[in-house]
Each structure stands twice: as C-alpha cells, then as structure tokens.
C-alpha cells in the first residue's frame, strides 16, 4: 500500500517522486505501461506515484469525497454484476498477474530481474529528467558535462541551442512519424536504431559471449524516440538504452551510483562515464544528440571492451 515506507527497495523514494512534476510522473507511468514486458515499476511503485499525484490534485477533500461517492453510486447502478450475470464485460480476461500470497506487494521475480529492474527504473528517471525539463529551442548534447558526488552522477547542460533533424521511420511501406503513438515491433536492433535516426555503428559491435537478445522496444516520448534492448545470458543481464533527443532543454540529469569512483574512459574522442551502483555497472555517454546508456552485470573491463568496439569498425 502506498506510504508504507519512504524508501522503495528498488530506488524510487517519495522525495524523488515529489521533485518530479505531475506531468513527469504521468510520463513515467506511460513509459512503464508501454514497456512490452518486465515492466520497470511494481504495483507499489505505481501506487506511490499515484499517491503523490492524488495529493496534488485532490486538495478539496469534500469535493473529492463527493466525486468518489458519485462514481461509487454509478458503479453500483451501472456496472456491478448482479446474481445471474455470467458473461464478463470483457472479450478477454483482464485479471492479471497476482502478487504473491501473503507477502509484501513485490512481484515474484528472480534476483537478476530485480537487479535489472533497479537499473531500468534509474534509466527511466534519468530519461524523464532529460526529456521533461523546460521546453526551449534545443540543446547541444556535446556540452553535457559529467560531475559526481559519492551517491550521484550528474550530466549538466551548458544550454547551447542546436538544430536537429526530425526523422521519420518507414516500416512495411508505411511511414511512421516520430512522435506518433504507434508502436512498431522490431526484431533487429539495427533496424530500430536506423528507423529512429540513429546509426547502428554507434553502439557496441562486441559484448561478452553467451548473451542473446531478450527484449527490444522503441518508445516515443514527446517526439523523442528511445530504443531499449535487453540481453540475457544464463546468469547475467545487460541493457542498452539509446535516447535520441530531438529538441530539448535540460538543466541536469542525475544518475544514482554508489561510492565508487567514476571512471572517465576516453575512446573515439568521446568521454564515457563508467560508474557502479550496487552490483551493476553503468556507462553513459553522449554522441551527436544521442544519449547512450549501458547497464547491467558487466565488469569494467567488459564495458571498456564494448566501448572500444564502437570505434574499431
């Protein structure tokens, strides 16, 4: 139930949520909803977000109570099944995943999925911070500079405008303008990147043996495409997130990290920021208005080799 604790075990806490605007929180919910599977947010996360939204939007308690009462009466009159009703309202059974019996409201997932969820939630918050800050002429992402403390890594923007092109994607002969609500299913990461205006030569061509593509999705958030791919091996996962920023302004973006040192690794004349958080490693870099993030159970050596593979083609 919402409000049970202030700190969520996967990293979402009330203080962070309250710093986001209602619009940002709603975008977070939409992004989670659109994720094809392994949704990043647990039902407790969602309820916690909704709790923050509700407190902001329902300041008039009497009006709120009256509205709920009206809906309750409508439910009883128009929707509540009566004895003898056999047919479901729905063409398909909508009852979904049942949280485990008697336990806390945490979906039953394997430890590696839990770790991956931590990373994905962090990535979503990062993307939201980037995408949903003040709208303005544009941003030169080359000017994003990394700074960090013991607990956070921050990309700070120097606020320079840059002209960007608006890509369109073409799949099966139909044109899908970036920013439409249509979701296209891809089977190839290269296709997903190219269709969204990102060269497939800008992602690693090497990664450790034994990983296979588990999930690939493209989301559209306020005209900015996000390509997300998850690779899994028998006992490890890692993800690559590619966020093509079309025309945004951002003051700064915060990544959660642990107390270990941030490694600045230069390759291809680009600085890659390698950091750790609990038992995952993450690398973030910016190239030509695209923010790249790789997260997962990888070693620093593996991450460096993956980075080098981008520029050794």
């Amino acid at each position: 139930m919402p409000g049970r604790s202030n700190q969520h075990p996967y990293g979402l806490n009330r203080n962070q949520l309250e710093q986001l605007s209602t619009e940002e929180l709603e975008e977070l919910l939409r992004l989670d909803f659109d994720a094809p599977k392994n949704n990043a947010l647990s039902t407790d996360d969602i309820l916690r977000i909704l709790d923050v939204i509700e407190k902001r939007e329902c300041s008039d308690q009497a009006e709120n109570a009256a509205e709920v009462e009206r809906a309750w009466e409508s439910f009883q009159k128009d929707y509540m099944p009566t004895a003898g009703d056999e047919d479901s309202l729905h063409e398909e059974d909508a009852a979904g995943e049942i949280p485990r019996e008697g336990g806390p409201a945490v979906p039953h997932r394997s430890p590696r999925h839990r770790i991956f969820r931590t990373t994905l939630i962090a990535a979503i918050i990062v993307l939201l911070s980037l995408m949903l800050a003040a709208q303005a002429a544009g941003i030169n992402l080359f000017k994003l500079i990394g700074t960090w403390t013991e607990e956070t890594f921050r990309l700070t923007n120097s606020m320079e405008a840059v002209e960007t092109k608006e890509p369109t994607s073409s799949v099966n002969g139909s044109t899908n303008a970036v920013g439409s609500d249509a979701e296209i299913e891809y089977t190839s990461l290269s296709d997903a990147l190219e269709d969204n205006g990102v060269s497939s030569d800008t992602i690693p061509s090497w990664w450790p043996d034994g990983f296979s593509l588990e999930e690939l999705s493209v989301s559209q958030m306020q005209n900015s495409p996000i390509v997300f791919v998850l690779y899994e091996s028998e006992n490890r996962t890692f993800s690559i997130s590619v966020h093509r920023v079309i025309s945004r302004e951002s003051d700064s973006t915060i990544y959660e990290k642990d107390g270990n040192e941030v490694i600045q690794y230069r390759s291809g004349d680009i600085i890659h920021y390698i950091m750790s958080n609990i038992n995952t490693k993450q690398v973030v870099w910016v190239n030509d208005s695209v923010i790249y993030t790789i997260s997962g159970q990888l070693t620093t050596k593996e991450i460096k080799k993956m980075i080098d593979s981008i520029y050794e083609r």
């Binding site: 909803f33 309820l47 509540m80 729905h90």
Partner: protein, 164 residues
C-alpha cells in the same frame, strides 16, 4: 458472480473509496479522457466483484487492482483499435481521404446492410466520438452491459465481413 458476503461488500466498498482517485489518475494518464478513465476503473472493480476470492487471496488487493486495471486498459485500447480497424478496412480507402477522419456520411452508406441505423450510430459514438460505454448507453437508453453486447455483435459482423 455477484458479491454476496457482507465482509466482501465491506472490503470492496473500502477499496473503492480508498483507491478510486488513484486508479482514476492512472487510467486518465493513459487514456487521456475522464469518461474512459472512469469506465476503466469501473470495469476493474466489476472484475474484482467477479473474482473477489482471487483478489483477496492475492494478499495485496491494491496491487491486484492496479494490475487488473492495466489489463483492462490494454483490453480497451485493443478492442477499440480493432473496431476502428474493421471499420476502416470494410470501407474502400478511396472513400476515406484521411484514414484518421473517416467521412461519416460515406461510412453510413457503405455500412448499410452490415448494421442497422441505430447499431451503426452506436458504433460511431464508440469508435469515432470515443464515448465511454456508459455515455453511449445513456444516449441510447440501454444498459452498459447491453451496449457492450450490441457493439460486440456489430464487431463480429464486421470481422466476418472483413474475413470474407
């Protein structure tokens, strides 16, 4: 199945009053419509009535309701998209200059024979005007359940016609 046991009724009443605003806010963020959002929440609680043992057995009724609401919203979107798909593909594309805005007069004529005038008026409310089933039911003076069944029957005819 209806909710018969007093303790179940009490549980449902409590959950509804505690969670309606939250679930509504969630549905509205995804559906961008107050009426559709409310319908999604009402349908979610209808399922809760039908499967109250599953909900209580989950140990986390609030989480169960959120998950069910998610599935209801997906179901709503899929159902409305497929209705629109059958409508759009039953009509010649030459008669629809912009696929996003079907010409209602042409659609009326071309659909003649597949649905009665009233049935088609109902379909237009749901698909083109994006009414909730409750709004459409109120306009046509029928129950929400009857409204859904009528739309399902029309959809079945359109699908059969499409598959010919």
């Amino acid at each position: 199945m209806s909710v018969e046991r007093p303790e179940d009724k009490e549980l449902l009443d409590g959950l509804y009053h505690e969670l309606f605003r939250k679930l509504f806010a969630y549905a509205k963020a995804l559906l961008h419509s107050d009426d559709l959002a409310e319908e999604a929440v009402q349908d979610t609680f209808k399922i809760a009535c039908e499967k109250i043992n599953k909900m209580t057995g989950s140990g986390n009724p609030a989480g169960w309701l959120v998950t069910t609401l998610k599935n209801v919203i997906r179901d709503m979107q899929k159902s409305r998209q497929s209705l629109y798909y059958y409508m759009a593909h039953t009509v010649s594309f030459d008669d629809i200059p912009d696929i996003g805005k079907p010409d209602e007069e042409n659609v009326d004529m071309l659909y003649h024979g597949l649905a009665s005038e009233e049935d088609f008026a109902l379909l237009k409310c749901i698909v083109l005007k994006k009414y909730s089933y409750l709004e459409a039911a109120q306009q046509f003076g029928i129950s929400v359940e009857a409204c859904k069944k009528r739309v399902q029957r029309i959809k079945k005819r359109l699908r059969e016609n499409f598959e010919k």
